[in-house]
Point group: C2
Chain length 253, copies 2
């Protein structure tokens, strides 16, 4: 009944194919964002909604650690929370994201309140946190492997935003530059862990399915943005309405 497991190299290739076929760098909203085709309000809507993802990731990592019995694995994982929440010497990714919010004219307190986040964004992101809380550790680590594909999109994003938008400068984009430093160590660890632990065909299937689930989580966030804020735009009840939550200088301009 059970098939033999694929070799680690073949299994890694299978995981990378999932990214090539389903990662959200393929979504039209990202093409528009990086190519300069987004209006200021579309960029703001992206910043507001993506903040909800950022703000949930350390909770996701804490949920993971709460289920890990091995201190070495918890210790290896802990730096993810530090990267986002900050340390004495590092302001952390969430603060950096709020500086991006300010750069695009949004009140960071408004963004941090998570008011105006689209319900569909919440449903998708919350599904990820709960997935990590409920599924096997292998599936939880495998779901994090979308980071395999992140450095390429971050590099493209920095370049595209700098070229195409007046708000973009090194301070505003420090989140992405910092992630280029942080993500590779996380993903090297996570990938090796998955390759080591997915030692049956069944576990490899579960890990691949978890990674697909995660690409769905990311894709659904962009679909929600596209549906709400790109013509024919249909902002659902409760979603951010352009004009809300602006810094006073942005309101004046």
């Amino acid at each position: 009944m059970t098939e033999p497991a694929a070799s680690p190299a073949a299994f890694e290739a299978r995981l990378r194919r999932i990214g090539a076929e389903r990662y959200h760098d393929l979504h039209p909203f990202h093409h528009r964002l990086h190519g300069g085709g987004c209006t200021p309000d579309q960029v703001r809507a992206w910043v507001i909604n993506r903040y909800y993802y950022q703000h949930s990731i350390p909770m996701k990592d804490a949920a993971f650690m709460s289920r890990v019995e091995d201190p070495a694995l918890r210790r290896a994982w802990r730096s993810r929370i530090e990267d986002h929440d900050g340390t004495d010497t590092n302001e952390g990714g969430i603060r950096r994201w709020l500086r991006l919010a300010e750069a695009v004219g949004l009140d960071p307190d408004y963004v941090a309140s998570c008011e105006g986040v689209l319900p569909a964004t919440r449903f998708a992101v919350d599904a990820y946190v709960r997935f990590v809380r409920e599924k096997t550790l292998l599936e939880a680590v495998a779901a994090s492997l979308t980071e395999l594909f992140a450095p390429a999109i971050h590099a493209r994003r920095i370049e595209g935003l700098l070229r195409n938008y007046a708000f973009a400068n090194d301070a505003a984009l420090s989140y992405f530059r910092q992630r280029l430093n942080e993500a590779p160590k996380d993903v090297a660890f996570g990938l090796q862990w998955v390759l080591d632990h997915a030692d049956t065909d069944e576990k490899q299937d579960a890990a691949a399915k978890a990674l697909i689930f995660k690409t769905d989580v990311l894709w659904a966030q962009l679909d929600a943005l596209e549906s709400a804020y790109v013509l024919p735009a249909r902002i659902p009840p409760g979603g951010w309405v352009p004009g809300e939550g602006l810094l006073s200088r942005a309101r004046a301009s």
Copy 2:
């Protein structure tokens, strides 16, 4: 600090206003569906995705009952599961929905497999099941009160589908007609329970918020359909692609 609770009548009016402002009868997809403007594939996509909601509701009700200590409340709630899953004398709502699937040319086994359900549909519906699993009983019952607004949409749907679509007949639409009989008893019970138990301002706020959450769950499902299957249609990876899961007679036509 705490405000006095509003009177039951004023609180009921507040709940009904939420429906008037946010219930999914206001969504353009429903206008198109009931007005005859949907293509056969758009109707199929609705049937496939809405099936996921139908299939999850008895799990939601079981999750609720699993947390209720009072046998009388469990007994009152149990008929909801019977209505959906069926009894010796009633085939149940899920079977009826699959007859609708067949009437629109879909293979009921395909629909029951939940393959092709949009990820965003899953995220929204799963969020509802988990809400009921995790929140207070008051919030769980309050979330069910979108049924207050369902009879009107079901009546309009029966009339609109019969008038506008060749597939529509009494057998195909028996799900909706049956719900017109079942829902009123459920919602009368649920509404009275919420009015009785939301006896502080804080509990009334929590109940109102739960009902808003539920309207978001319903709205997000239609947004996902509209985004994937209405022009400019962008079916996300993994979503049903027209042509899949058809009955052979529908494939031939």
